[in-house]
């Protein structure tokens, strides 16, 4: 009776088996030709490996569709079930035929590939054994997978789509080394690994394939009104929609976890200082005789920045550590910075041995970068950045020499004279900075904030900072946008200082004029 079943399958699908065999051969030849044509492919067996991975599953899918899905779709399995033979035998014959054909196809292409190589592939018996066994075993796994899928009837396409998406997600968006696991480990180095049998991968691939076949048999052998028969029904329109929506929503939900890996950051051997849970690391460029300068700089930064942090009311946990790396040859400001992926640290570069270097500037800029970083760039948006720059100016000039303060006042005055200053330029700081220069724009806003310090208590300034720029933001948290939209800066400023931004801009202009450089004063007096 079993032989009759084999004959039945042959009569029903024999032509297809032959076509699929020919198709497999043609596909493999084309892929081998394609991947090697430009000379970078790595050889015939590399091409066969590529075809096994990307194209052979299509052939096996068609094969299993013919052997299983068509039977249930056209309900001819009911006739088979009426025959006097156990149902497992019926399924076994189909599984056996699929396995036999797939093994024949895979082994066939490896042997033909060997012949076609014309000796350009150095093939030892061991290498040939590895090639044949891994190709056949991988093919068997693919067979077991699609054999099971074929029993899922109308759900097989949605299931395939889901599997495809999950697989792609694992490969491209996670750190999971998919190729290390069976069955993919089998063909990871197909055509190149000639010495070592992938024993573990072979065993586990065989186990997985057996398990998949076991599930297939379970589905097929379930009693009357079998699961497979029910699944074999055509999907209704509503069902299609439901499945489609579920897949779409599921894919979107998966994106929730898609965040770039945070950069593991540290600088071994850097001088470190800690205060109230805040860490500063300073690393020299070369090997200086003493680390006095680094220690002094680290102590200064940790003291000042932790004070500023507490003043702003930012918690220890939200405040990332600061790394300062010496870098000679930086032009102009002697300070640069670099983004650390994942915002796990603030990385500043400074030419701190240069006589022109000012540690106050480094401190203030580091604070600004920290505020930008811990808010995921939201404090860096221009409608808040001017606030950060205003405080930055105050902090930078806190202990600055009178000459530096004078220079800043002059810069603000010159900028005002040339580019003016208005609320639009205050809020639209990016364009103002683009036209006038960012240092110039910083100088103007510094003067504005200095005006505030002279006319309001520091507590009021502190309150304003705490209400506007001290909110930590985490990735994938869109609530920050809503908070910003519902807490616009203008009304907040007015509420805190009792003056509108227009009045503030006007007051800033007056204040800058009041502190105009001495040479301008003298000129005016002489006139």
């Amino acid at each position: 009776m079993t032989a009759v079943l084999f004959r039945k399958e042959w009569r029903q699908h024999g032509l297809w088996f032959l076509i699929l065999g020919g198709l497999t051969l043609v596909i493999f030849l084309l892929v081998v030709q394609g991947v090697n044509q430009d000379g970078t492919g790595g050889g015939i067996f590399f091409g066969i490996g590529q075809a096994l991975t990307y194209f052979f599953p299509i052939v096996v899918f068609i094969l299993c569709h013919l052997l299983v899905a068509v039977e249930y779709r056209s309900k001819t399995q009911l006739f088979l079930e009426g025959l006097p033979l156990p149902r497992w035998k019926m399924v076994f014959v189909k599984a056996f035929i699929a396995t036999l054909l797939v093994c024949a196809y895979t082994i066939g292409v490896v042997l033909i590939g060997w012949l076609a190589s014309g000796g350009s592939e150095a093939v030892s018996l061991r290498f040939l054994g590895i090639l044949i066994s891994t190709a056949a075993l991988f093919g068997w796994f693919v067979t077991s997978f699609f054999f099971l899928i074929a029993f899922l009837g109308r759900y097989r396409i949605p299931v395939l789509i889901i599997v495809f998406f999950i697989f792609n997600w694992l490969v491209s968006s996670t750190a999971v080394p998919v190729n290390d696991f069976p069955p993919f480990a089998l063909i990871e180095r197909f055509g190149f690994e000639r010495d070592i049998w992938p024993r573990e991968a072979m065993i586990w691939t065989a186990v997985i394939a057996l398990l998949l076949f076991a599930v297939s048999f379970t589905l097929a052998l379930a009693k009357e009104g079998s699961v497979s028969a029910i699944l074999g029904e055509k999907m209704s329109y509503r069902e299609k929609m439901f499945i489609g929506a579920a897949i779409a929503i599921g894919s979107m939900a998966i994106m929730m976890w898609e965040t770039p890996t945070a950069e593991p950051f540290d600088i071994p051997g850097a001088i470190s200082e800690e205060r109230n849970g805040f860490h500063v690391y300073v690393s020299p460029e070369g090997e200086p005789e003493t680390a006095d300068l680094e220690v002094q700089l680290a102590s200064y930064l940790v003291r000042e920045l932790s004070e500023k942090r507490d003043w702003l009311g930012i918690s220890e946990a939200d405040f990332p550590p600061l790394y300062v790396v010496e870098k000679t040859g930086i032009e102009e400001d002697l300070i640069e910075w670099e983004l650390v992926e994942g915002d796990t640290a603030i990385l500043m570069y400074a030419d701190y041995r240069n006589p022109e270097f000012h540690r106050e500037t480094l401190m203030a800029w580091s604070m600004s970068q920290t505020l930008d970083s811990f808010s995921m760039g939201r404090n860096g948006l221009e409608h808040r950045w001017w606030i950060v720059c205003g405080y930055e100016g105050l902090w930078e000039m806190e202990d600055a020499s009178p000459e530096r303060v004078k220079a800043k006042e002059k810069l603000a005055f010159d900028t005002l004279e040339e580019f003016g200053f208005s609320t639009k330029q205050l809020i639209g700081r990016a364009q103002y900075a683009d036209e006038a220069g960012w240092k110039e724009a910083d100088a103007v806003i510094y003067m504005g904030f200095r005006y505030l310090t002279e006319n309001f208590e520091m507590k009021t300034l502190q309150q304003f900072a705490r209400n506007t720029i001290n909110r930590p933001v985490t990735r994938r948290d869109g609530r920050a946008v809503w908070w910003d939209l519902t807490h616009p800066v203008g009304p907040e400023f007015e509420k805190t200082f009792g003056m509108t931004l227009d009045e503030f801009a006007g007051a800033t202009i007056d204040y800058i004029r009041k502190h105009q450089p001495d040479d301008v004063n003298e000129k005016e007096e002489s006139e």
């Binding site: 090697n36 790595g42 670099e338 103002y432």
Partner: protein, 668 residues
């Protein structure tokens, strides 16, 4: 209600569940974005107009879902008989179905555009020029034209039932192939390039009328074919189709069709991989070694195999004489490289296959794969052994890290090539031979510092610089590493990357931060050393590099079927040029254009570069000017890509923004 309105209503009811699903998905997506994204950082310029590829693909997918069963379902479900009984023509049914399907997609597009418009409003900054209504109008026109086009095409082919997607795929490849063959105006047949925003915000967005006309003709033809097919009383082929399907001839033909369709696909796929090499339009420059290999391969000589202690060589009989000294020296190369990298005995015990019979990729003297090397056989044995040393290093790197560097190859390619080059020059070449690499790097970095952050992002590097710069830059970085941490440092770094509990698939800077931390190294110290080495090189060769100015500006004009690039050259640029020095230029239609579509030209009379305009059918293009420096440096050194509007003003490639506002500087 008119008859047509009734049938429209019927089609709407039929598609309503799908419309509800789309609307539900839109709402879900809207909420999802609100919860997880910063929508006030979504300017339409970047997020909508700049995502034209994605939008075209999404439109295509939606059209497939809506249209693939639109007409044939009536036949398959047997409801066509009912429709035939109604006092309405099939043409009306066809038009109604088409209109409803297109209307549905257009509605979805409008929702998305509205969403993008609102995000643009809240993302407004003083620097960002707000997208004009003309932009939205042109974008909407093109996007919705695509919807109508896709629906027409898919409906036309949907009568092929299960073969529809395969034929569509074949069509896709056909267009790709035509472009590949540089068939005139083939670019116009690609609907996925229809939406292309201007170069800069504020530039006028010209409607691509020519491409619209071509696609309209194609779409109209498809629409008419679909209409005729749908109007065929008995359906396509009718009863004869059933007979054909059930006969042996039909089955055999179907089988052949199954074979043929993948053949078409795969042939095109294979064709897409051909000729990746960069060829100069004027005078083809094919590396000597590749020419030799080509001659060797076509010679039809018998293939021989010889073993040494560490290698198994596969070569042609005609090379037998040259192979003898090469084979004699090969094991020593193996030992030297293995000693340099402190390779374990286990790895040393494996033989490496060296295939000298297969063709190589252009510009390659050799290629390495796991335990296999492919290379040509240069005339000089020393040269051959140096190439073998380079490739053996690649093999050992892969073996020592168990392929971990391959996992994030775009971040590690520079190190692979850098270490292999360092070993090649250190162990197998005369000290003065490094000068060529040093000059190459000195010139390239004199135009713009070669940043470490660029090296670890291969995509960024390739988009802006010559991709081969990783050889000298990687080599100098490895020298810096050795200078700071000693000769065992590369091995320590590889060991750190291969540690079993180490993180996998790390990309970019993170890959190298992790490796250095695990090895106990300070990456910043190495970067500092790398910077100072680059500076030394620049200073050393400053007198010569000053003679080769970088070209970062120019204009492009279309005239008489040619694109003419007029680079902005400094006054007196010819003064003091070394003998044999000349300029070359490569041009691409868009940043994503594959290298096989690039056009090359040498400097012509009037200090211009020329190329056929057929490749450049869109208003924008990019060019990259490079130098052939003559004897001073064998390598062609290219500057940065410059984006220009054809017949418009030239633009320098995005200058680095100054200032602190939200931008982080990457440095080295």
């Amino acid at each position: 209600m008119t008859k047509f309105a009734a049938i429209l209503w019927k089609e709407w009811v039929s598609l309503k569940p799908f419309a509800i699903l789309l609307f539900a998905l839109f709402i879900f997506g809207l909420c999802f974005v609100q919860v997880t994204e910063f929508v006030d950082m979504y300017p339409a310029w970047d997020n909508m107009f700049g995502e034209a590829d994605t939008i075209a693909i999404v439109n295509f997918v939606l059209c497939v879902v809506v249209s693939i069963g639109l007409m044939v379902r009536e036949k398959d479900d047997g409801t066509l008989l009912y429709l035939d009984g109604l006092p309405i023509t099939r043409t009306a049914v066809y038009c109604a179905k088409w209109l409803v399907a297109v209307g549905l997609i257009v509605t979805v597009n409008l929702f998305w555009t509205l969403e993008g418009f609102i995000y643009d409003l809240v993302s407004d900054t003083s620097m960002q020029e707000r997208s004009s209504f003309r932009y939205y109008a042109v974008f909407g026109l093109l996007e919705n034209f695509l919807a109508a086009f896709f629906v027409s095409i898919i409906v036309c082919f949907s009568f092929l039932r299960r073969w529809t997607l395969l034929v569509l795929g074949a069509l896709f490849w056909l267009v790709f192939w035509l472009r590949r063959l540089e068939v005139p105006y083939a670019e116009f047949l690609n609907p996925f390039t229809l939406i292309q925003r201007p170069l800069e915000p504020g530039d006028p967005w010209q409607v691509p009328w020519n491409q619209l006309a071509v696609l309209s003709v194609v779409g109209l033809a498809a629409w008419i074919i679909g209409l005729i097919t749908f109007n065929t009383r008995t359906g396509p082929l009718g009863p004869s189709r059933k007979w054909f399907q059930n006969s042996w001839i039909g089955k055999a033909t179907g089988g052949c069709a199954i074979v043929l369709i993948p053949i078409v696909w795969l042939s095109l796929f294979a064709a897409s991989l051909f000729d990746e090499e960069e060829t100069y339009s004027d005078e083809p420059v094919v590396p000597e070694i590749v020419q030799e290999r080509a001659a060797s391969v076509s010679g039809g000589n018998r293939i021989l195999t010889t073993e040494s202690k560490h290698f198994q060589f596969v070569y042609r009989q005609k090379d037998e004489t040259g192979m003898k000294p090469f084979i004699a020296g090969a094991d020593e190369v193996f030992e030297k490289v293995a000693d340099y990298l402190s390779v374990s005995d286990e790895i040393r015990s494996n033989q490496i296959i060296v295939d000298l019979t297969s063709p190589l990729g252009s510009h390659n003297a050799g290629q390495a794969y796991w335990k296999k090397i492919r290379m040509g056989l240069p005339d000089k044995t020393d040269e051959a052994l140096a190439v073998l040393g380079h490739e053996a290093t690649h093999v050992f790197i892969d073996q020592m890290t168990d392929g971990r560097l391959e996992e994030s190859f775009s971040s590690t390619r520079w190190f692979h090539e850098g270490l292999a080059s360092e070993i090649e020059f250190e162990l197998f070449r005369a000290p003065e031979e490094t000068e060529d690499y040093e000059r190459w790097l000195a010139l390239a970095s004199s135009w713009g510092e070669v940043q470490f952050s660029e090296l670890v992002e291969d995509g960024v590097l390739n988009a802006t610089r010559d991709r081969f710069i990783v050889y000298p830059a990687g080599m100098v970085w490895v020298e810096a590493l050795i200078d700071v941490y000693g000769r065992e440092a590369p091995t320590a770094l590889l060991t750190a990357i291969a540690r079993p509990d180490g993180p996998r698939k790390l990309e970019g800077m993170a890959r190298w931060r992790d490796a250095c931390l695990a090895a106990g190294y300070d990456l910043e110290k190495v970067r500092a050393n790398f910077r100072s080495r680059l500076k030394e090189l620049r200073d050393e060769y400053a007198a010569t590099t000053a003679k080769f100015p970088e070209v970062t500006e120019g204009t492009a004009t279309r005239n008489n079927g040619k694109i003419t690039i007029t680079p902005v050259l400094p006054d007196g640029w010819r003064d003091g040029l070394p003998e044999g020095a000349e300029m070359i230029c490569r041009m691409r239609a868009q940043p994503g254009s594959p290298p096989f579509e690039w056009q090359y030209s040498k400097l012509k009379k009037g200090d211009v570069f020329n190329a056929s305009a057929l490749t450049f059918l869109k208003p924008e293009m990019s060019f990259q000017v490079g130098w052939i420096t003559g004897e001073w440096c064998k390598q062609h050194v290219f500057g940065e890509w410059v984006d220009v509007t054809i017949d418009g003003k030239g633009k320098k490639k995005n200058p680095t923004e100054k200032g602190k506002n939200g931008s982080a500087k990457t440095i080295d």
